[in-house]
Assembly symmetry: C2
Homo-oligomer: 253 residues x 2
Amino acid sequence: MGTTQLQTVPEPKYWHLKTVLTEALDSEFTVGEILPNERELAARFGVARATLRQALEQLELEGRLQRRRGVGTTVAPPRMGVAVGTEEHAWPSVGGDAWEPADCEFAVPPAAVADALETGHGEAVHIVRRTRVNNGQTVAAELLYIPQASVPELTGIDAPSGPARARAVLRELQRREATGQDRAVELGSAGADDAKALDRLPGAPVLVVTTRYFAEGRTAALSVATYRADTCRLTFGDAGGVEIHHTPERRAS
Amino acid sequence: MGTTQLQTVPEPKYWHLKTVLTEALDSEFTVGEILPNERELAARFGVARATLRQALEQLELEGRLQRRRGVGTTVAPPRMGVAVGTEEHAWPSVGGDAWEPADCEFAVPPAAVADALETGHGEAVHIVRRTRVNNGQTVAAELLYIPQASVPELTGIDAPSGPARARAVLRELQRREATGQDRAVELGSAGADDAKALDRLPGAPVLVVTTRYFAEGRTAALSVATYRADTCRLTFGDAGGVEIHHTPERRAS
């Protein structure tokens, strides 16, 4: 904000450093450039390593920096706008768009999923695994839970497993009459499988998008998709999203 | 997931510990209970302090634990569903609902905001600060940027400052013919002011919701709202779900 009127809370040291670093990133560095190491940066800005590290962590949270094993800390490109919840698709697609079905199995879901689906605990459901690719980068990994009741005519003959099986399940789902969907977004951490799919370390922050698909008065499918929080900005509404790539600094420009 | 077929990536030690801790939280602890200290927990589960700390950090990211200064680590209540982007309100409310106008000033916004508003850099706009309260907890802090062109008839006479001024600006905004809005959600970190409003430490992860309000073919207002990521789950679509008015795509199986 930068106005004296609203700026009433004293800033911690690393926060001020973060602002200084942000300005340096804007003026001296280009996207993809590797930052000097922590020792050099701490010396240059006259701060302790611990302070520097806190500031770097903030900038990573805000998507300005990326830390990659074996590479170092690089200047991140602006976050990608990734459209979520456009009303075009009543059902998850069978493929051919950004989403790619990868696998399918018939297994017992976690209890919380069973509750949302109103299936009995211990009852197996179809679990489709899909990934979403944007600009050549895998931005989301999804588990899509589909009760047998939503795909009653599905047979196991033609495609017993793999992507073909996933597509067969999704095609069957699309025969239902969709009546709506709702959606929630929350912070989470990447599990081992998701982390691998997203090229992140396990435990990395992710945005978890949970979508319930309704048909004929009940929950016909439940999607739990984890999006890379470092590179993605989830957009809602068809206008293409908001053209602000970083959290605006609350200081005068 | 818990199924052997999809669980193909080996889990790091702290990840396994996290699973064990999750089960312990479910079975042995109640919401609000203070966990034993790190030394005791590490001893109980037979792990190094560093491993324990990583697992606790994951559980904090996922909203299962809260760490509060001077209190310790407590078991968090389930995240609150906080509705974002219901289509009821074409414009930000003047107050009287969950949002409370707190202050207003006329100042130059950050360059990224000016770009989104299509105002000139260095041009002052109205900046309304609002907070959102849910179940007695402040869950979001917002800066709402409104160009002078969106509230041309606003006078400074009746309410020069404070909440009354904020309401006057919002009332004027509501005279415009709203034509739509779009919205983006991304990960961010709490600035000093937001952190104070949200009762968090500066730098805490937040969900940043940026909303553009359109009127008469241009951006009439821009809202940048930071939601507590630890306690909030942002929901889209009203209770029964977003109604889909399209005929679902039918495909042959």
